[in-house]
Structures are given as C-alpha cells and as structure tokens.
Symmetry: C2
Subunit: 251 residues, 2 copies
C-alpha cells in the first residue's frame, strides 16, 4: 500500500521481536497482542487513535475478554495507553519520551554487552555476530543504501539480547525495543552515521573477543546515545515519522 509501511513491516519481521516474545506460546490474548503490535509498529493504527474492544472482538471473532487482556499486554509494552473508562489509545511518544527510552536502553544495552563480554561461553555468540558485522562492513564500504543495513543491525541486537544470561534484562530490552521500533530507522540515515555505526560494531566485537566488559559496556552505551541523538534530530525535523496519515476516528 505504502512504501514506509511496507518497510516497517519488513523491519518488524527482521527484528524477530514478535516471534521472540509471544507467538509460540499460543495463548489467545498473546496472539492477538502480537498481531496488534505489528499493526501499531507498521503504522496501521495512527498515534492517538482510539482502539475499541468490540470492534476487535468482532474482527478476531472472539469475546471482549481476550481482547481486553491483549490490550493490557500492549499497555505493558507502552504501545497503547489505557485510560480508566476510556479505553486504549495508541501512544504517541513525545520527543522527550523517546529520549527517555533511549537513555534507559543505553544503560541496559551496556549491561547486556558487558555481561556477554564477561561470559566464558561467549565464543558461540561471537560466531553468530561475526558474519553479520562482516556483511555490515561490506555494505558500508560499497556505500549501499537501503533497508538491508537496518535489518542487519536489528539482527545483531537480537542475537545479543537473546544471548543475554539475564532473563529479566532480556525481557525489559525486548519491551523497550518494541517501543522504539517505530523510530529505529531514523538513526542510520546518513552515510557518515552508517560508517560510524560500523566502527562501533567492530570495536564492540573486539571488546567481546577480549573479554573486556568495561569497554564493551562503554561502546554499547555510546552507540545507543548516538542513535538517540540522531533519532531526536530526525524527529525534530519531521514530527510525523512513520505514519503520514492522521486518522483519529474509526477506520
């Protein structure tokens, strides 16, 4: 339908977030939550739009009970806000809130990568990361544009988060990643930024290889902080980043 929307959907698939956290568990509310989160991230529901329970219940051919639970799950992930007696509306994070989320991610990505660097069994993770970083390097050298770059970066992040020994950290990072998925494309827009991103990843791999947790943490943190600043700059220039349309009423 729409180019931006398509790329967002591909990004979601590449990120593996939907599958990673819920789809296989086969609980009805979780399945519904997964499908709804895909729509929100893809921009099918505009920020600020109200989501009615009965409409979804009819669409998914279930009762309102599972729908309600699914909406609470989305609230937990920050994709909708639920107001008492007024239902769920798609969140529209302000620039300040996006910055907040990135600040938290900077700290926790730092912890994640430090833990991995200090893990005696990190060789396996490295084996998964190395070919991806090699692809990234090649793409950057060839000056290639496009979606592929973003997808590789998401894969790298997913591999690192999956490998994380701290289950609760993994959970929080997944949740935060879903919340910033809508803005993740903004961080790699210019060729210079991509070149710097590649350098960051190479240095991170080096630090993990050496088992240097402190360096791994510092690099991860810098990387997210850079993404944060880039995303904020992009948001300030274009206040409506993903969804062009501003539909508020029912579809």
């Amino acid at each position: 339908m729409n180019r931006v929307l398509d790329s967002a959907e591909r990004l979601l698939a590449a990120s593996g977030l939907a599958r990673a956290s819920r789809a296989l568990t086969s609980s009805l509310p979780e399945q519904i939550a997964t499908r709804l989160s895909e729509r929100i991230v893809a921009g099918a529901y505009a920020p600020g739009q109200r989501i009615m329970e009965q409409a979804l219940a009819t669409e998914f051919a279930v009762s309102r009970g599972p729908i309600r639970e699914a909406l609470r799950l989305l609230e937990r992930d920050g994709l909708v806000a639920i107001l008492a007696r007024r239902g769920a509306i798609v969140t529209n994070p302000s620039i300040a809130e996006v910055k907040e989320i990135f600040d938290i991610r900077a700290m926790l990505n730092g912890l994640r990568d430090r833990l991995i660097a200090e893990d005696p069994q990190r060789a396996k993770v490295l084996a998964a990361l190395e070919p991806e970083v090699a692809r990234l390097t090649r793409l950057a050298r060839e000056g290639k544009q496009g979606q592929e770059y973003v997808e590789i970066v998401w894969t790298l992040n997913r591999v690192l988060t999956e490998a994380c020994a701290n289950a609760r950290l993994k959970h929080i990072l997944d949740s935060l990643a879903r919340q910033t998925l809508r803005y993740s494309q903004l961080g790699l827009s210019t060729p210079e930024r991509r070149r710097q991103s590649v350098q960051h990843w190479q240095k991170l791999l080096e630090a993990i290889r050496k088992g240097d947790g402190a360096t791994a943490e510092r690099i991860a943190r810098e990387r997210v902080t850079d993404s944060r600043d880039a995303a904020i700059r992009a948001l300030q220039e274009a206040p409506q980043p993903v969804s062009a349309a501003k539909k508020r009423g029912p579809a």
Copy 2:
C-alpha cells in the same frame, strides 16, 4: 502475629511503593493488586504457593474478572508467575535471579542519580534528601540497630525515584523495587555495612550538589552492587529469608 512479617509490612508502608503507583487510581483490579502485593511482600503467601482465582473472588466479594486482571498486574511486577491453564503461583526468585534484578537496578539507579545530579532544579530534591541523610549519619554514629535505618534508606530511594524526570525509568525502578523488597533488609545487616552505606549516601549527596553526574552515577552503581553482594551472601546462608513457614497448599 509474627515479628518478621510485621517488619516487612512496616517496610512496605515506609517505602511508599504501594501508594506511589496504584492505590489512588481507584481501579478495582489495581486496589486488589495492591493488597495482594502487600501480602506477598509481607510473606503472607509463601513462595511457590498457588493462588486460586475463585478463592480471591469470594474473599474480595467481586467476580473473577477483576481478580484475573490484578494477577496480571502482579505478574508484570514479577511477584507471581502465571502459567497457562495453571494459574498464578507466588514467585520464588533464585539467587541468580535476585542477582539479575540487582544488576539491572545498579545500572538504572546510576542513570537516575546522574539525571538528578544534572538537573538544574535539583536543589529541591537535595532539600528533601539532606535531613534524611543527617538522620542516617546520626543513627550510624550512635551505632543504633533496627528497622529505622532501613526505612530511611527506602525513603531516600523513594525521593530520588519520585524526583526522576524520566517517567519510564521511574516506572521500571518502582517495579524492580517491589521485586526486591523481600530482600532489601539483608543488605544492611552488619554495623560495618551500615557505616559504608552512610558514606555512600554522603558522597552521593555531594556529587548531586556539585552537579557531577558521572560521579553520582558511579556511586549509585557501587551502592547497589554492594547491596547485591550482601543480599546474595545473606541468601546463601539462609535460603528462606522472609517467610519462615513453607506452606504450599491452601491456607
């Protein structure tokens, strides 16, 4: 009824966590969740104990719907685990999981205190912190034992978290604090540890006063890491820290 239980209840009240996050919103499921979380933290439900929906519905004189929602809220906070078709059981975090939570808190408390130190309007927070730290210093000098010490530390943490400009960070920290409330008393057991804790707080205040975000972050992180190690040591010595009884069946 039981001394340990009493002190846990006082601690919960002093921490202000229940009130801070839910009680005033007056939604029925949230009220129920608050009361249940008090019971879990106080040890009225033993770890591993199964919680049945119908029993709670009868007790609170509501239908099972709000009870279900309340249990999902507790799951979000990590106080119960919900298994498909098997309901909610009170979580019994392993030592490894407690360490995980403390590791996350170390990072995020660091972010919190750095943000506060870099906040131009930090004077107001300082004004609230200073008398408490003074009380702490006095207690330590007098070599006083007892609950008061723990309560002051909780107040300090609550003031800092409340003052945090990052709303999402505040939310995550509240949630993590609830999860470790059961173990927070373990960190300050010996007089030496308390003296060191006082020093940490004094240095933290100093850093905030100067606007030295990096130092504030480092100190906060050290403090949580120390608490973590102390809590783990205590847990290894006494595997059943809060609730003495090991009731698994219905009460």
